[in-house]
Amino acid sequence: MVLAAMVFPLFWMFRVSFLPLASDLGWTDLLSGKWDIGAYGDIMSSLGMMRYFFNSVLVGGIVVLGNILFCFMSGYAFSRYKFIGKNFWFYSMIGVLMIPAHVIIIPLYLMMRQTGLYDTYWALILPFLVNPMGIFLVRQYVDSLPRSMEEAARIDGASEFTILFKIIMPLCKPALAVLAIQTFLTNWNSFLYPFILTSSEAVRTLPVALALYQGHQAIDWPHLMAGSSLAVIPVLLVFLFFQKHIISGITAGALKQ
């Protein structure tokens, strides 16, 4: 029963997305077994949804790559090096997790306007290339690795960069996989920042497009649910394949507190 209540709304979305376009969504239509892919045809061709989908993929891809590289570098520095002000920078990450987004969106909007980055891909990418949870994840993982290999490489004369990218990075693959999946999910579903930092359709991401699509015309459920399915399918695929990674990432963060 409970499982049905939890999962049924998503099935419902798929069902409605396959309804004939002119149907009035009465029970007769929903139970009739009429299946129609007209809504999907429209969003693929004329409604610009493919553009929004592409924007989401592009921004998400760059942000994920950025996080893998930068969270890795920063996490490694916090794990292995001593440097001036290390504690301050460490607490800055915990502090950021406590700052609600609503406090910084107006200044962020003004900054993007001022620098000309407003309504460009850059506005959706630059602030999100590194995140504290990812740095914690890498730091914790590197902490658990033995130092012997780095020391041996150092004696052999390997540079710090070689050690970082050739020796440590391959060892961190499991942590980086968790990081990549979580970053993808967060970014793919992100609404507030893209909504506020862009305005034109050329750079609009899928969630923003869906939220606004409803606004400017009478509600057209089959199209809207087809677009929603487009937004949900990648997430469901990632979820089905990487369930263990996702859950371990979330619970690791919780138990650390």
Binding site: V2, M6, V7, P9, L10, M13, G26, M73, S74, Y76, A77, F78, Y81, K82, F83, I84, K86, W89, S92, V96, M98, I99, P100, H102, V103, I104, I105, I106, P107, L108, Y109, L110, M111, L126, P127, L129, V130, E160, L185, N189, F191, L192, F195, P207, V208, L210, A211, Q214, I219, M225, S228, A231, V232, F239, Q243, I250, T251, A254, L255, Q257
Partner: protein
């Protein structure tokens, strides 16, 4: 070693730059804006002291949005926490197919909030099955659907939020349950404690840290409710919340200073609540 310190700074520089440019500076800038009347039509930084804050305390729209936010926070968090705990206990018992159930419960919380909002907009409307079920069960739903009536709109969104987030907190409770040593239960059982006593004397006290964590993060998150409101009602029918008010004044009417002052009031409320929760739990742990 000096060379290594600068190298460390180089490795940590992405975070240091991001923190400075995209967190610390906006945070301070926002505070400053709150004391000015900076807006789109008159982009000058005139210091007006506490005027924005006194104006907010007399602004009916702001106060209403704050009240709605409080209703949302205090209405959803106890229910979400209890349901999440019950789901976790259910799954923890171990029955065939439990991983499937766990995945099913958790699925809503990886789905986009916009999409969930859209689906429920449909479910709550006249053609949606929640509306029809309510009618079959003998309730008297509002004529044009649950979201188009100020009697039910806010509560409907709250119900959806509980549906969406319970699975996520269930996972955290599950992790907490796994961390309880099984010997404790064995010892309790051998000294004659029943299942119910075990639950109240072992499980609940040991879950306290996880419960605190859940309540604190859920409080911080719930005070910021915005996306659901934007997608489902655009703040109409008595559903405007604090962040919706900030969005409306700051980014629709472009009164940046005034909206920043409102943002800081909410920020302070959230910070106070988190502190009080920590304090209450710490007190509870000593006694």
């Amino acid at each position: 070693m000096k060379g290594r310190s600068s190298l460390a700074y180089f490795f940590a520089s992405p975070w240091i730059a991001t923190f400075g440019i995209f967190w610390l500076f906006p945070l301070i800038f926002s505070l400053y804006l709150g004391f000015t009347d900076y807006r789109l039509l008159r982009p000058e930084f005139n210091w007006i002291g506490l005027d924005n804050f006194t104006r907010l305390l007399g602004d009916a729209a702001f106060l209403e949005s704050l009240i709605n936010t409080f209703i949302f926070v205090f209405g959803t968090i106890p229910l979400t926490t209890v349901i999440a705990l019950l789901l976790a206990l259910l799954i923890e018992r171990g029955f065939p197919g439990r991983t499937l159930f766990r995945a099913g419960y958790f699925m809503p919380s990886v789905t986009s909030l916009v999409v969930v909002g859209l689906i429920f907009s449909h479910l709550f409307s006249r053609g949606g099955y929640i509306f029809l079920l309510a009618r079959i069960c003998g309730f008297d739903p509002p004529e044009y659907g649950f979201l188009l009536s100020s009697r039910t709109a806010l509560y409907s969104i709250m119900a959806m939020d509980i549906w969406m987030s319970a699975g996520y907190y269930m996972l955290l409770f599950l992790a907490g349950l796994k961390a309880i040593p099984i010997e404790l239960y064995e010892a309790a059982a051998s000294s004659g404690a029943g299942k119910i006593r075990q639950f109240f004397h072992i499980t609940l006290p040991l879950l306290k840290p996880v419960a605190l964590f859940i309540i604190v993060i859920n409080t911080i998150k719930s005070f910021q409710i915005f996306i659901e409101i934007f997608v489902m009602t655009r703040g109409r029918y008595g559903t405007s919340t604090a962040v919706y008010f900030i969005y409306e004044t700051g980014l629709n009417r472009f009164e940046f200073g005034y909206a920043s002052a409102a943002a800081y009031i909410l920020f302070i409320i959230i910070a106070l609540f988190s502190l009080v929760q920590f304090w209450l739990f710490r007190k509870g742990q000593i006694t």
